[in-house]
């Protein structure tokens, strides 16, 4: 197990990167704790696989260093780093039995046969593979094959970290759920440092202690699922986490108020103080007001500070209702409880605690 540090880490596939767009992974300094489960979340092409390959040692970063427990491993092979990795598609050794597959990483490292047997049986037990141990790996179903791939990562007791590169892509939804639970269980039991790459927010949020959201090569936020939900540090996080994503409206500023099409919306006191002293964005600059649908307060017009809106539609989702509202030229979503009535003269309020101001897509605080 190891603490993983990134020291000014960056990677570009160009030989001479000049602009930020040249970077597949933009400059990053961070420390990831030992024994925690992390998820790297983002759409395809956001740099999450690049970062994963740098951590595993399959890719040498063009800038900066990677440290495991304070030791510089930037140029070490995966083997030297003592990393285990599970790939998107199951990698199994066709000609071997399940047992031989699981024993392979240990036998290569000349672990005594008695220990091999003990570890293999332990891991097989944890992954429900005991009944298949003597079968040829080639004949199993894709999810059993992927379990074997995972098992080969888990079988080594001394790994620095286990990396998962979208490992559940080929698995059907129900088994996916079971496997994720299994992984979570194994994580809690063995306290392994696990890094899980995915583009599925549910997968990331249910698996990880901390989720790193990546967008266009930059890590825009690293936080617990709750932090990502309550205080998205980037509009992309607001949009990507949660369904539907955050409501965003361009705005200008007036003291501690955001002004959207002439309507003043109060912000938390002092939240605009960190900004350059100007109320109207310069050319190319952008102020945005963001609030999650869960935090939009629906009330009647005339209530204190309420802004009248037009109800465009309501979707009943079974456990909650999702209202589509028009406020001026903007469309907002609001999540309501099942029993909440929608008045004819609907109006909304923006609780200051949940009303966030974004400057050039980044949260102002």
């Amino acid at each position: 197990m190891a603490t993983i540090q990134f020291d000014n880490l960056g990677h570009s596939y160009h030989p001479h990167p000049s602009k930020p767009d040249d970077y597949a992974l933009r400059r990053l300094s961070q420390e990831w704790e030992d024994g925690k489960a992390y998820a790297l979340l983002g759409p395809s092409g956001c740099g999450k696989s690049t970062l994963l390959n740098i951590i595993s040692g399959l890719l040498v970063p063009s800038e900066g260093r990677v440290l495991f427990d304070g030791l510089d491993v930037t140029r070490c092979t995966p083997e030297e780093r003592n990393i285990a990795q599970v790939f998107q598609f199951p990698v199994i050794y066709d000609t071997m039995t399940v047992y031989e597959n699981l024993a392979f990483p240990l036998r290569n490292r000349k672990v005594p046969e008695a220990d091999v047997d003990r570890r293999v049986r332990q891991v097989a037990e944890a992954l429900d593979l005991t009944a298949d141990l003597k079968k040829r790996a080639q004949r199993l179903t894709p999810d059993a094959k992927q379990k074997i791939s995972m098992g080969r990562g888990l079988v080594r007791s001394d790994v620095a970290a286990i990396l998962f590169d979208e490992p559940l892509t080929v698995i059907d939804p129900h088994t996916k759920w079971i496997l994720r639970r299994k992984l979570r269980q194994i994580h809690e039991e063995y306290r392994l440092t696990m890094i899980y790459v995915t583009h599925d927010q549910v997968e990331a949020l249910t698996f990880a202690d901390k989720v790193a959201v990546m967008y266009e090569g930059a890590m825009v936020q690293l936080g617990t699922p709750q932090e990502l939900f309550e205080a998205p540090r980037h509009t992309f996080v607001g949009y990507f986490i949660g369904s539907p994503g955050i409501n965003l409206m361009p705005c200008t500023l007036g003291g501690d108020q955001a002004i959207v099409e002439g309507i003043a919306i109060p912000l938390a006191p002092g939240s605009a103080a960190a900004l350059p002293n100007r109320d109207v964005p310069k050319l190319g600059e952008k102020f945005e007001l963001g609030i999650r649908p869960e935090f939009v307060e629906l009330t009647r017009s005339g209530a204190n500070g309420a802004i009248p809106v037009q109800v465009v539609g309501v979707d009943d989702l079974g456990t909650s209702k999702l209202a589509t509202l028009r406020m001026g030229s903007h469309t907002l979503k609001a999540r309501l409880s099942e029993d909440q009535e929608i008045p004819l003269d609907a109006a909304i309020r923006f609780p200051t605690r949940w009303t966030k101001l974004y400057h050039d897509s980044y949260l102002v605080n």
């Binding site: 995966p78 790939f87 598609f89 990698v91 490292r109 040829r136």
Partner: protein, 291 residues
Amino acid sequence: MDKVQDNRAWFLIIPVFLIVAFSAILPLMTVVNYSVQEIFGPGQTLFVGTEWFEKVLADERLHDALFRQIIYSLAVLAIEIPLGIVIALGMPGGRSAKTSLTLVLLALPLLIPFNVVGTIWQIFGRGDIGLAGATFRALGFSYNYTSNSLDAWLTVLVMDVWHWTSLVALLAYAGLQSIPPAFYQAAKIDGASKWAVFRYIQLPKMRGVLVIAILLRFMDSFMIYTEPFVLTGGGPGNSTTFLSQYLTQMAVGQFDIGKAAAFSIIYFLIVLLFSFVFYTIITKTGSGEKQ
């Protein structure tokens, strides 16, 4: 529930059936017909039953040719398959100019007509002007493929290796290219040695193409005719007379049509039998159950 019977499907296979009938079945049946008759001339035939088969099976020269043939084909496989795999492993991957150049160079011997290959090697091996022959002589070896049977035999073998190893290499290369990079990365992470990567990833993934390579090389080498015919004419003595050449001598040279036909059928059955055995062995060892 009644199964719907629709015999119109039979009409659709008639064209294929006709083509196969004219190209394979009728000629083969003609051979079968010849093999049970003594043919004196056009229209003058005599039914002799299995006599030709008995004669062929007792033919000493045929035994010798068959023995030579088997040794030769096994030698071809023993050299070309491993060599082809080694070449494929050493070939550059990816889409680069180097890859294209290697592929073109490898494909060259395959593009040369068989009798030209024979001619090339005939000249190449000549002691007076041939590059190889003259070099051997200069180095003090008494190399002469026209008078020494071992030299002749080895020359035919090396010629086949030169001509056909590329095919095995290209097939093996195609097999290697189909292995996803994740397999190599996983093997690296599992701490597998180079040998283990070959044994547990590359070889199993190449099994399919290697089955094809072995069958093709076996059948082709078992039926080899043109190259040794051009190079040595079957000599010196009978040292490079393989089955097909002996068959040609019998059918065209001595006009022993009945005997040659019986021989052909036996020849065909031998190739079929060997191919079947190879195929079964290779597919069984690869994917069969261990239990």
